[in-house]
C-alpha cells in the first residue's frame, strides 16, 4: 500500500517535470526541470531494490550531466536572453521518429511479464554483487568503457588547451 503511494509520488515527480522539459520555452527552466525528473527516476530505482543504480543515477545525472547541460546553456548564450529555436518545426520527420520510438517501446512493453514488487524478496544491497560481476564476468566491457572515458577526457583536455602549448 505505502509502496504503491510512493510509486505514484515518484512517477509524478518523474513525469510532471518531464512535461515542463518538453513544453517550456525557456531552456534554463527545461534544464532545471530535468533535475526533478532524475530524482524521480532515482526514487523509482530505490523502489525496485536497485540501490546502487539509484545512487549512481543521482551522482552521474544530477552531479555530472545536468551541471554540464546548465553550464553549456549559460556559457554558449548570453544568460539573460536565451533565444534558441523553440517553435514547432519539421513536424513530419519528427512525427515519424517519435512514432518509431513509441512503436518499439510498445512492442517491448505490451507482451512483457510484469512482477509485483511487493512479492519480490527484499535484497540487502546490490553493490557487492555488482562489484563482483564487474570484476569477473563483465571485466572486458567494464575496462573498455573505462578506456573510452579516458580517451574522452584526453580529447577534451587536448581541445581545451591553447594551440601554442602543443
Amino acid at each position: 500500500m505505502e509502496l504503491t503511494i510512493l510509486f505514484y509520488v515518484f512517477a509524478a515527480l518523474t513525469l510532471l517535470p518531464a512535461l515542463v522539459v518538453v513544453f517550456s520555452r525557456s531552456l534554463i527552466h527545461a534544464a532545471f526541470s530535468l533535475l526533478f525528473t532524475f530524482m524521480g527516476v532515482a526514487g523509482l530505482y530505490v523502489l525496485l531494490n536497485a540501490d546502487f543504480i539509484a545512487v549512481a543515477q543521482i551522482m552521474v545525472y544530477i552531479g555530472g550531466i545536468l551541471i554540464l547541460l546548465v553550464f553549456g546553456v549559460m556559457l554558449t548564450r548570453r544568460p539573460t536572453d536565451v533565444d534558441i529555436q523553440t517553435s514547432v518545426m519539421k513536424t513530419l520527420p519528427a512525427t515519424i521518429v517519435v512514432a518509431a520510438v513509441l512503436g518499439t517501446l510498445l512492442v517491448t512493453l505490451v507482451p512483457a511479464q510484469w512482477i509485483q514488487i511487493d512479492d519480490m524478496p527484499a535484497i540487502d544491497g546490490t553493490a557487492l554483487e555488482i562489484g563482483e560481476l564487474l570484476m569477473t564476468t563483465f571485466i572486458l566491457p567494464f575496462e573498455v568503457a573505462g578506456i573510452l572515458l579516458l580517451v574522452a577526457v584526453m580529447g577534451a583536455a587536448l581541445i581545451a588547451r591553447k594551440p601554442k602549448e602543443l
Binding site: 532545471f32 545512487v55 549512481a56 552531479g63 551541471i67 546548465v70 544568460p79 553493490a127
Partner: protein, 369 residues
C-alpha cells in the same frame, strides 16, 4: 531510538516523521553554537572582544541574529526568475539535510543505515551544486552568476580528490556502510583509521570479519596524509576560506547569495553550516573513530545503562565534529584567500596525483598484508 518513538506514538507515519526530524533539532542548535563560535573565535584571533552586549559575554547574540533574520523583509529582485529564485535556497538546504540521513550519530541512531552510505553522501552533495547554480542564475545579477560559476567549478573539481580519499578508506575497511567503518575502529584511540586502523580482528555489522594486526601501524603515515587531503577538499567543497573565492567579498559582494535576504538567506546560511558539520562529522567518522570513545570504555557500561552509552556515543561524535568545525573557523581567520589559479593548481596538480598515489600504495599494502 525508533522503537522508543514507536512505543509512544505507535507504528505509523508520525513516528517516522519524528524520527527523520531529530537531526533538524540538532542542526538548529548546532547552527546557533556555530554562529557564536564564528564571531567569538574571530574576535579572539584579532584581539577583540566580539559581541558583549547581548547576555553575559554576548552568548545570546546568535538568538538575536536569528530573530533579526526572521523579521527581515523578504526581497525578490524585480528581474529575477521568481520561481527558481525562491526554489534554490530550499533545494540547497534539502541537499544538506538529505546528507545527514546517513550520518550515524550513535550506534543506536542513524537516519538510514544504508549499505551505500559513503557513495550516497558523495552523490547527494551534487544536489547542492545544482542549487547554487540555480541561485546564481535566477538572481539575474553578475556577481551572483560569477559567484555561482566559481563555486560550481570549485566544488566539481574538489569532488575528485574527496572521492579518491573515500575510496582509500573503503578499500581498507571493505565496506561503504558508515556504521561498519565506525565499528571497525572500535576500542581505544589507537584503533582509529588515522593511526593505522584496527590492531586486532573486528567483526563488522555486515557479518564479515576484518583481519587486522599491529602491522597496520605502517598505514599510519599514509592515513595521516589522507586525512589532511580529505580535510582540505572538504574546506574547498564548503567554500570556506582559504577557498572562498565564490564569495570573495572584495570582488563579488557575497557571491551567489548576494540578492537573498531574510529567511531565504538564512536557508543558504544554514546549509553552509550544515555542510561544514557534515564534512567535519565525516572526517571524524572516517579517520577519528566516529562515535567511538577514545578510551575504549563507556560510563554507561559501568552503570549497566545502555541508554547512557548511546548518549555518550552521540556526545563523542558531536565533540569530534565540533572540533573540526572549530578548526575550519580557526583556518578561516588565519589564512588569506587563494587565487583562482592557485586553487586549481592545488586540486589538479597536488591533491589528485597524491590521492591516486596513496590509493595505489594502500591497495598494494592491503593485498600483500
Amino acid at each position: 531510538m525508533e522503537s522508543l518513538l514507536q512505543s509512544f506514538f505507535g507504528d505509523n507515519i508520525l513516528t517516522l516523521l519524528l524520527y527523520c526530524s531529530l537531526p533538524l533539532v540538532f542542526l538548529l542548535l548546532y547552527a546557533l553554537l556555530a554562529i557564536l563560535g564564528e564571531v567569538k573565535v574571530s574576535a579572539w584571533m584579532q584581539d577583540r572582544l566580539g559581541p558583549m552586549r547581548t547576555g553575559p559575554y554576548g552568548i545570546i547574540q546568535p538568538i538575536a541574529d536569528v530573530l533579526k533574520l526572521l523579521q527581515k523583509e523578504d526581497i525578490t529582485p524585480a528581474n529575477a526568475d521568481k520561481f527558481l529564485f525562491n526554489l534554490a535556497p530550499y533545494l540547497s538546504f534539502m541537499s544538506a539535510y538529505a546528507a545527514l540521513a546517513v550520518i550515524p550519530f550513535s550506534s543506536q541512531y542513524v537516519g538510514a543505515d544504508l549499505n551505500l552510505g559513503l557513495f550516497y553522501l558523495l552523490a547527494i552533495s551534487s544536489l547542492n551544486v545544482a542549487a547554487i547554480m540555480m541561485a546564481g542564475w535566477a538572481s539575474n545579477n553578475k556577481y551572483s552568476l560569477y559567484g555561482s560559476m566559481r563555486a560550481v567549478a570549485q566544488i566539481v573539481s574538489y569532488e575528485v580528490p574527496a572521492a579518491m580519499v573515500l575510496v582509500i578508506v573503503v578499500m581498507f575497511i571493505g565496506s561503504l556502510n558508515l556504521q561498519d567503518i565506525i565499528i571497525a575502529q572500535s576500542g581505544p584511540f589507537w584503533n582509529w583509521i588515522v593511526f593505522g586502523g584496527p590492531k586486532q580482528d573486528v567483526m563488522l555489522a555486515s557479518g564479515h570479519t576484518l583481519d587486522a594486526s599491529w602491522t597496520n601501524l605502517i598505514f599510519f603515515p599514509l592515513f595521516l596524509g589522507t586525512f589532511v587531503m580529505y580535510y582540505i577538499s572538504g574546506l574547498a567543497e564548503t567554500n570556506r576560506t582559504p577557498f572562498d573565492i565564490p564569495e570573495a567579498e572584495s570582488e563579488l559582494v557575497s557571491g551567489y547569495h548576494t540578492e537573498y535576504s531574510g529567511m531565504k538567506f538564512a536557508m543558504f546560511f544554514m546549509s553552509e553550516y550544515a555542510n561544514m558539520f557534515i564534512v567535519s562529522a565525516v572526517t571524524a567518522i572516517l579517520f577519528f573513530g566516529g562515535w567511538n570513545s577514545p578510551f575504549g570504555v563507556y560510563l554507561g557500561d559501568a552503570f549497566d545503562a545502555p541508554w547512557l552509552v548511546a548518549v555518550e556515543q552521540f556526545g563523542w561524535l558531536v565533540l569530534k565534529g565540533l572540533f573540526f568545525v572549530f578548526m575550519m573557523i580557526w583556518i578561516r581567520w588565519t589564512l588569506p584567500r587563494l587565487r583562482v589559479d592557485q586553487l586549481m593548481y592545488m586540486c589538479w596538480k597536488v591533491l589528485i596525483p597524491f590521492s591516486f598515489g596513496v590509493a595505489l600504495l594502500v591497495g598494494f599494502l592491503v593485498v600483500i598484508l
